[in-house]
């Protein structure tokens, strides 16, 4: 079975760990716990032709003053950058992280707009339209709390990872 390494990045408290927990264990917890370092989980995604085992590297939240351990991205097939649509700053941080990633390694990056159950921040859509774009391989909306778009996200991740060699 083919395995693919997937790294999940994003600012603090955007819901990276919640997305992984929702997808891998099917649970969601409102209580916020900061992730330290990296937490690794795995999950098999069934595609039409074959199965892919995703090794999900949930990397601790990155704010504007701190970088990330660049070695974590090494060997990854796909990177996910998670942002919180109720906080404009999380999007700005996401863009910064994406640029750093691109510098480090040419890798498809998927933008995940999480917390779709919450109302978007003011001017969210205009900022998103202006600033995002070509940087990302794909863009998806999810809510780990309501379990919307999570399975689709990782299904797409599996497909993109197979295409990326």
């Amino acid at each position: 079975m083919i395995q693919k390494k997937v790294c999940i990045f994003g600012a603090s408290a955007v819901g990276k760990t919640s997305l992984v927990n929702r997808y891998v264990a099917g649970i969601f917890n409102d209580k916020y716990l900061t992730s330290i370092g990296v937490k690794i989980d795995k999950k098999i995604v069934k595609l039409n032709d074959n199965n892919v085992q995703l090794m999900l590297w949930d990397i601790e939240g990155i704010d504007r003053y701190s970088g990330f351990n660049r070695k974590f991205i090494r060997g990854a097939s796909v990177a996910i950058v998670v942002v919180d649509q109720s906080r404009i700053q999380s999007f700005q941080d996401g863009l910064e992280i994406t640029r750093m990633l691109k510098q480090e390694q040419e890798i498809p990056v998927i933008l995940v707009i999480n917390k779709s159950d919450l109302p978007p921040a003011d001017a969210w859509h205009s900022i998103l339209e202006n600033e995002s774009p070509s940087l990302f391989e794909a863009q998806l909306q999810t809510s780990a709390k309501q379990n919307t778009g999570v399975d689709n996200l990782f299904f797409d991740v599996a497909k993109i990872s197979l295409n990326h060699t």
Binding site: I2, Q3, K5, I40, K42, W57, G75, S77
Partner: protein, 656 residues
Amino acid sequence: MESNNPSPLSESQELADFRQIILGKNNQRIRDVVEEDARKIVSKVLTEALHDRQNTDGTVSQVLAPLIEKAVEKSVLEKKDLFIGYLYPLVGGLIRKAVSAFITGFMEQTNLLLESSFTIKGLQWRFRAWRTGVPYAQYVIRQTFVFRVEQILLIHNETSMLLNTVVRDKTQATDGDTVSAMLSAINDFVSDSFYSANKDNKQFLDEIKTDDFTLLIKQGPQAMLVAAITGNYPAAIGESLQLSLETIHKIYGAELDQFDGDALPFVNTEQQLNDCLLAQQKESITLKKKKPWMAIALFMAFFFVIGYFTLLQWQLNSKIQRINSLVNTPGIVLLNVDACNNKICIELLRDPLAQPAAKWIEHAKLAGTEINIMERPYRSLDPVLIKESKVHKIKALPASPGIVLLDAELCDDKVCITILRDPLAEPALSWLKGTKLSATELVINERVYRSLDAQLTPLRLSLLAVQFPELTYINHVFSGQLSQEKFRQLKHLVAALPDEINLKSIISKVKVFPTLLPSKVKINRALLTQSINKLENTAIIFNQNESQLSGFSLNKLTLVSQNVFEILNLSEQLNSNIKILILGASSPKGSKVHNRQLSLARAQSVKTNLISNKVDAEVMEALGLGSLDKKDRRVMFSVVNISAAKTALDLEHTNQ
């Protein structure tokens, strides 16, 4: 001046040209020759070359093993029947060997388990394992082995993904994928945290230790090998890991370089990884190769218990079978036999006339077995029981006075009856009327006897009345007169009647005729006369001038006493009043007075003696006669009838 010597450059050029002419361009001619004979040349050295290479680094077997495995697999799949033919004769032996090996191993493991469970050492180990919070199995391994490599992980450096893993104990396997990724992450963390100024000098984790495990990490250019080890491992382990890692790099270099997440090409690394699953057992354990006595004892006890219960069950089943095979008896229908709580439970229907169920089951010879019989009554139509019911009817007849049923049994379709019957009792057939059996169905064997039944007494008394016509018989009482003889006869017959009869009341009114007695008086008189004569002819002799009784005289006086008693008794019967005179006498010698005194003393002496012999003193009178000529020195007796004397006196008086 120009030199003729060719320059060195042109010489070497010429040499090269010459070489090209001889050997051809790019040594083509030599290569052609070699290629032409390549097969021959290689075949000559192939075996030796393989041998040498195998001896050098052992890579030949590593490369060939997966190829041979695949070739064998393909061959087996395509020519299955052929292989079955080859293997068939071997399989039996293999299975036996495998089973034997399994049992031996199982026994040893069980023994080890028992030893570690029930011995002091085992209990100590358990306690220590509990105290340190380590699972007991792991603690045992730690105590048993110096070290043991539990798992080997081959991890791709770039992607941190697991390429292959081998585990010694499949139940203890960890999630190799996650462990690999986390190890890489930790490695990266350490590498970044302890950053070296020299970029080429990368920092890598070499060893991670926990309470139970040591993770020994060997880093290669494209992959790393991680060994999870329990115990204290020797340095040689590291070398072994390093060698295996190098071999893997050498063989799978290209695959490692092009790895894109598919670990399939690395399946065959299992052989190299297995080589790293090393272990060393503690000497004390390996040296002690002893008989597994505890396991043997446990198994023997186990088999004994199983055998015992099997035997019990077998015995019970055989008893049930014996009951089932019992010959049917009339009036008993066996419904069910089963074992229940170590007993045999029997359910049956039974006619009340049939033999008791317990007696019937005795035929099955079930000594010592507890039997629970659930019996339900029913009426059987079995011919034997129908006949039996006739016998039963006779036996159930109420008793009749004077008839005793001794036996009733079936004999040739009839009922043979043996009875005792008093002649006064009712006829046997009359008694049997209650059974509603006809005389043709019965054979009666009757024996006469005399019954003591009180109910027959009135009848008997009536018959007695006939026997004694001189008496009147009313209300069980006889009255009238009978001679002495007949009365005795009646008394005798009545006495033979049962005790319940009041004899006295029956014959109380019967009087006896007075009878003339034989002249007993005469006889008594004759006897009295005879006794008196005997007494009067008796004399007690004394010595001269003595009144003391001699020994002889004393004996004689005892007889005299009895004689006196007879006389007194007879005289009493004859209503006579008599007196016995004791007369003393002396010889003529001496004076008259002296003789009279001496004779009286002698008479007194005799009287005294008779009194001592319990003769009434009143009836005796002692007299001294004095001297007598012929009958001297003696005492004599004389009996006087006083009543007769008195009558004579009275007559004399009247006459006067």
